[in-house]
Each structure stands twice: as structure tokens, then as C-alpha cells.
């Protein structure tokens, strides 16, 4: 499982990088790279997945996650003339520290679960990285201003869940396919369209515009 391990480690590194950078373009590239890494992680499970599911998941990761979605986001950024700056509420330096803390915490949780659950099936590395990805995705959503970065945060979260399902559910491949494809495809398309509208209805695609409805 060397391939899987290497892919997962690089995936984990990309998570800390995404919180350290302040350029929107870098976010999109990282998402693309993560798609490729998920592909490598998936093909290391090809034996349990079987041929058709493997092909499907390869399509999902390489074509959808690594190509179409990043291109679509690039298109939106260009088309709507969104500022290339990420615009976070939190300083980059602190973000990286938070990322490291999240990774440490996730690995601790994964290790504890392996010990307490007495579950030999758990791979602490994959588990830890996928939990980190889920939490870092949430962190991106709450700490960044732009709506487009929120969508990308959601994608990081999705990637984390995909990794988790690869780690835990490869013997029921339909689960791996069911969840993420539906979510990413429809969720992103809808959100992309909505961002388009938001751009034209509001003045900018900035979360601070979304404050009309309050109590």
C-alpha cells in the first residue's frame, strides 16, 4: 500500500499549504492536485473495488475532481472578475498554525479510535488525513470571506469524505460512488449558478453582503 500512503501524505501536506497561501489560483490548483491524489489512493484499492467501479471512480477523480471542477472554478473567477486575493478573516500565519493543530488533533483521534475500537481495519494515516481534510474544509468556510472560497472549502471537505470512504467502505463501492458524485456535481453546479447570480445581484461575491436577513 505504498502508493496509497504516499498519495495520502502528499494530500495531507496540500491541506496545510492551502491554508498558508493567499492566492485564489493556488486553491484551485491544489483542488486539482487533490483529485489526482485521490485517484492514486483509489487505484491502490482496485482489487476490492472490481473493474467497473474502479473505472467509475477513476473517472470521478481524474475527470470530475481534477479537471472539470477546477476548470469551472477558474472560469467563474475569470468570468466574474473576482479579485485574486483570498481575503481571510484570519492571518495566514495563524491559519497554518491552526492547520497543524488540526492535523495533530485528527491523528490523535484516529489513533485513539484504532486502540479503543480494537479495529484492525483502520489505517491511522488515511483516517487522520481524512478527518483533517473535513475539519480544514470547515475551517476554510468559516475563516474566508469570498463565496467562491466557501465552495472550495466545501470541496476540500468532500475530498476528505471521499478519502474516508476509500479507507472504510471500499467493499461496498456503491457507497463510495453514491455520496460524492451526487454531492459534488449537483452541489457545485447549483452553487456555481448561484454565485453567478449573486455576482450580478449583489455587488461582489463577498460573504459580508449576505446580511440582509438577520434577527
Amino acid at each position: 500500500m505504498l502508493l496509497n500512503d504516499v498519495a495520502v501524505v502528499i494530500f495531507g501536506a496540500s491541506l496545510t499549504y492551502i491554508l498558508g497561501t493567499s492566492r485564489l489560483g493556488a486553491y484551485v490548483k491544489i483542488l486539482s492536485v487533490q483529485g489526482v491524489l485521490l485517484f492514486f489512493s483509489a487505484i491502490s484499492h482496485a482489487e476490492t473495488l472490481g473493474f467497473f467501479h474502479s473505472v467509475f471512480i477513476a473517472f470521478e477523480t481524474l475527470i470530475v475532481k481534477a479537471t472539470i471542477i477546477p476548470l469551472f472554478i477558474f472560469f467563474i473567477i475569470k468570468d466574474l472578475g473576482i479579485n485574486r486575493e483570498v481575503e481571510a478573516y484570519i492571518d495566514n500565519f495563524i491559519s497554518v498554525i491552526v492547520a497543524i493543530l488540526i492535523v495533530i488533533g485528527s491523528f490523535t483521534v484516529a489513533a485513539i479510535m484504532k486502540n479503543v475500537g480494537q479495529d484492525s481495519n483502520i489505517d491511522v494515516l488515511t483516517m487522520g488525513v481524512s478527518i483533517s481534510a473535513v475539519i480544514i474544509g470547515l475551517f476554510i468556510m468559516i475563516s474566508r470571506k469570498k463565496l467562491i472560497t466557501h465552495v472550495m472549502g466545501y470541496l476540500v471537505l468532500e475530498n476528505g469524505i471521499f478519502l474516508l470512504s476509500l479507507a472504510l467502505a471500499t467493499d461496498v463501492p456503491i457507497i463510495v460512488e453514491m455520496g460524492v458524485l451526487l454531492d459534488v456535481f449537483i452541489g457545485l453546479f447549483l452553487m456555481g449558478i448561484f454565485i453567478n447570480r449573486i455576482q450580478s445581484t449583489f455587488d461582489s461575491a463577498d460573504i459580508s453582503e449576505l446580511t440582509r436577513l438577520t434577527d
Partner: protein, 482 residues
């Protein structure tokens, strides 16, 4: 095998396709009512077979039949109300052709959640409800509705992502047992052989994920926005049916965990989230001036009461089932009333609505009596269910919880009653020329019918319903049940 359950999902979807392609407002109205009637008829046919065969994909047990019944009746009311609503929309030139297809797809998805007996499938249908209802929230295409739909989609999609983790973890929990998959019946049967650690974590994720959809505080933030921006017949369905569907999805996990030693933990979580929801609602509900937002916060309160009922266990589960029915009826009728007010006054701001009894006599009375029914005063059904929950608190010896519960519910009641009295009967001195507006029969009939049902439930619960609720509660009792 094509069971009635499957047909129940397919028929609304087919009608939705028809309505989407023909886009004619006159047929749309008929389609909606016809579909609602078919749905209700098929639901009634199902009432005889409430024990599902093991391992089936779609099936009905007593628990899901309660929710299916609620959904079916509420949808019929929405369909009848929509007859006039669609006409108004058409006359004012704002008719959104996606209204009927979205409503029907929404019905199909919610039916899917209720009749599915597979955790993965339930997840897929919950996702589908989100997509269908998003279209309904964006109905008026204003800036506010855009904001509401964005928040709704985003927050709920995070919730759904977390619920998906719950599905994966449940798979991990059942790994040691061969061929069990995600079938609810099989999981319940083998609950004690599941890995308790994974099961517990899966339950927590499901509670938070679907709890977002259900509107449990602190994951409720999308709810007031979405409910206030959707057209009234749709927001009535959100409060009455959608929240219940998410609740059922959580209960499926609860059904499994309650048969293990972790049942008490799950109940505690329900109790904490439930009481927090009631608390949060009581903080906000008084000072909100948008009436539909006020009702939405009241929904958060009632969702909290449902969770509290499950958390208390014992007889309170029966009460929670009864409360689900009563709250759905009461909230649905209140949202329809709000729709009447909005149509007549073009605003839903409480400060601008005084003495509606002059221009909308029927609606004013409906708001007054409906509020009383919603808040759980006798002789309505909500009184019985709330009273039974209080009784269970006494039986369990939770005196502090009981006092807090009563205080919070009283605060909320005050906020809602004051608004209702002011809107319905308090008139300003210099009330300008009050013309009596024409109230269309179909915009009043569903509400009076529901009030009648609530009154019946408060005075006498028929035997078959009593048995149904008992059986549903028995499914949730588990082994640690009091």
C-alpha cells in the same frame, strides 16, 4: 418488486415531469390536487401492512406510517390552498412555472425518505429534498430569497456531508457481520453485535447532520430565512413535513442505537439539543417582527419539544409522536394564514398589520384560534402531547428540567399570543377605510379542517390512531426504555 411504496415515490415525480414540460397554470392546479389525492389514497391503502418484510428496500412500519400520514394530509392541504395561490400569482404576473414541479418533486423526495429502509437511500432522498426545496425558496427571485437559498443550500449541504460520514461509519460499525449492509431492519436486529464505538460516532454525526436539516439549535440558522422567503404554502410544508422527515432520518439511527447499551447516551444528546432549541427559540421569538420568521422560530421550539420527548424516553415517546402530528397540523395552518395576510397586506411585518378582523374576518379568527392550538392550550391536541411530556418529566423526577421547560414555553407562548392578538384584533384609532377583502374559500378550508382535526385529537384519539402511535413508540423504546 414494485410495491405501493415505490409507486408513491414515482407518481409525484411523473406528475412533476408532466407539469415541467407543459407549463400551463390551469392544468398545474389540477395536477397538484390530483397528485395529492392519489398520494393520500395510496397512503391509506398502506395502513394495513405496517410490518415490513425483512431486507426490503422500501417498506412501511408504524413509525414511518405516522410520518407518511402527516405528509400526505399536509400536502393535500397545500395543494388545495395552491389553487387560489397559483391564480393570484398568475394574475400578478409573477407565476413561477417551477413552483408546481418543484413542489411535486419535493413530495416525491420526502416520501422517499419516509418509505426507505436503507440508511444510504434515506441519505440520497434527504439530499433530493434539499435540491427540490431550494427551488421553492428561490420562488420570488428577490435579493432576500437569493440570500436565503444560498444559506439554506450551503448550511444544509454541510449537514448532509456530515450525515454521509454517518453512513460510512455505520458501514464500518456493521463490518463484523456479513451481508448486513445498511438495511435498517437488519441493523436493528443485530444492534448488539455492532461495534459500539463506531455506532455511537455514527449516531452523533447523523444527529448533527440531519439535525441541521431538522432545525435543531445551534444548527438552525438557515431555517428562519428559508421559511420566511418561501411562498407560504411551501413554507407550511417545510415546517410541517420537511422537518419531520429529517427527524425520521435521525430516528432511524436512534432505533438502532437504542437497542444497545448506548441508548442512554443518545437520549441525553436528544435532551440537551432539544432543550437548547427551546431556549434559543424563547430568546428570539418575542422581538422578531416578521411574522413568518416568528413562526419559523416557533418551529425550532417544537422541534426541540420533539427531541426532548425522545430524550425523556418512556411514555414521552408516544407524546412526541402525537406532538409531531399536532404540531405539523397547527404549524401548517398558521403558515397558510400568514399567506392570506401577506396576500392582503403585501407585508408580513407585524408592526404594519393591525386589526385584520375588519378586512379579513375569517383569517383573523383562524390566526387567533390557530395560535391557541399551536401553543398547546386545551382543548387542542397539542395540549395533550405537551402535557404527556411534562408528565414523563415528573415520572422521571426531572424537576429542574420541568421548571425550565415550562418557563421557556411560557415565554414563547407570550410572544406568539401577543403578536396574534395584535394582528387579528387590535385596531389603531385612525384605521383608514377598511374594505372587506374577498377571501377565497380554498384559502380557508384547509385551515378550518386542520383546526377541526386538532380539536378532535384534543378531545378523543381514535383507537386505530392510538394503536398506531403506540406501535410507533414501541419501535423507539429499545431495551433501556422505561
Amino acid at each position: 418488486m414494485m410495491g405501493i411504496e415505490f409507486i408513491l415515490i414515482v407518481i409525484p415525480a411523473l406528475f412533476a415531469g408532466y407539469s415541467f414540460f407543459f407549463r400551463y397554470f390551469r392544468t398545474d392546479r389540477i395536477v397538484l390536487v390530483v397528485c395529492a389525492v392519489i398520494h393520500l389514497t395510496l397512503t391509506m391503502l398502506l395502513s394495513q401492512k405496517t410490518v415490513p418484510t425483512e431486507g426490503v428496500m422500501f417498506g412501511i412500519d408504524s413509525l414511518s406510517f405516522v410520518f407518511l400520514l402527516i405528509l400526505s394530509v399536509l400536502f393535500l392541504a397545500t395543494a388545495v390552498y395552491s389553487i387560489d395561490f397559483i391564480r393570484q400569482m398568475h394574475e400578478s404576473g409573477h407565476y413561477n412555472v417551477l413552483y408546481v414541479p418543484a413542489l411535486l418533486l419535493f413530495l416525491a423526495a420526502m416520501t422517499g425518505v419516509i418509505v426507505s429502509r436503507n440508511l444510504g437511500l434515506i441519505w440520497v432522498f434527504i439530499e433530493a429534498t434539499t435540491l427540490a426545496s431550494a427551488t421553492l425558496i428561490y420562488h420570488y427571485k428577490t435579493k432576500e430569497s437569493l440570500e436565503a437559498v444560498w444559506k439554506y443550500l450551503f448550511i444544509c449541504s454541510i449537514g448532509i456531508a456530515l450525515a454521509f460520514i454517518a453512513v460510512i461509519l455505520m458501514l464500518e460499525a456493521s463490518r463484523s457481520i456479513k451481508g448486513i449492509g445498511l438495511n435498517v431492519d437488519m441493523l436493528i436486529k443485530n444492534a448488539n453485535s455492532l461495534s459500539p464505538l463506531w455506532l455511537t460516532i455514527a449516531f452523533v454525526f447523523a444527529l448533527i447532520g440531519y439535525g441541521t436539516k431538522m432545525g435543531l439549535a445551534p444548527m438552525h440558522t438557515w431555517l428562519p430565512d428559508a421559511h420566511s422567503q418561501a411562498p407560504s404554502p411551501a413554507s407550511a410544508l417545510f415546517s410541517g413535513a420537511l422537518l419531520n422527515c429529517a427527524f425520521l432520518a435521525i430516528l432511524r439511527y436512534y432505533q438502532i442505537i437504542v437497542n444497545t447499551d448506548m441508548g442512554q447516551f443518545a437520549r441525553t444528546l436528544f435532551l440537551v439539543l432539544g432543550l437548547f432549541s427551546i431556549f434559543l427559540s424563547s430568546v428570539y421569538v418575542y422581538r422578531i417582527v416578521n411574522y413568518k420568521r416568528k413562526l419559523a422560530y416557533s418551529s425550532i421550539e417544537h422541534v426541540g419539544i420533539l427531541a426532548t420527548g425522545i430524550g425523556l424516553g418512556g411514555f414521552a415517546i408516544y407524546a412526541a409522536m402525537l406532538h409531531a402530528i399536532c404540531h405539523s397540523l397547527a404549524k401548517h395552518l398558521m403558515f397558510l394564514n400568514a399567506g392570506n395576510i401577506f396576500h392582503a397586506y403585501k407585508t408580513i411585518n407585524i408592526k404594519n398589520i393591525h386589526g385584520a378582523y375588519r378586512s379579513l374576518p375569517s383569517t383573523a379568527w383562524l390566526i387567533m384560534i390557530g395560535t391557541i392550538a399551536l401553543l398547546g392550550f386545551p382543548p387542542f391536541g397539542t395540549f395533550i402531547s405537551k402535557f404527556l411530556i411534562l408528565e414523563q418529566m415528573i415520572v422521571n423526577g426531572r424537576w429542574v428540567t420541568m421548571v425550565v421547560f415550562i418557563l421557556l414555553v411560557t415565554v414563547i407562548s407570550y410572544g406568539l399570543l401577543k403578536a396574534a392578538i395584535q394582528m387579528a384584533f387590535l385596531s389603531e384609532k385612525d384605521a383608514e377605510g377598511h374594505t372587506v377583502e374577498k377571501e377565497h374559500m380554498t384559502t380557508l378550508l384547509p385551515q378550518w379542517f386542520f383546526l377541526g382535526l386538532l380539536l378532535c385529537l384534543g378531545l378523543y384519539i381514535p383507537q386505530w390512531l392510538n394503536n398506531l402511535l403506540y406501535n410507533a413508540a414501541a419501535l423507539l423504546l429499545g431495551k433501556g426504555g422505561v
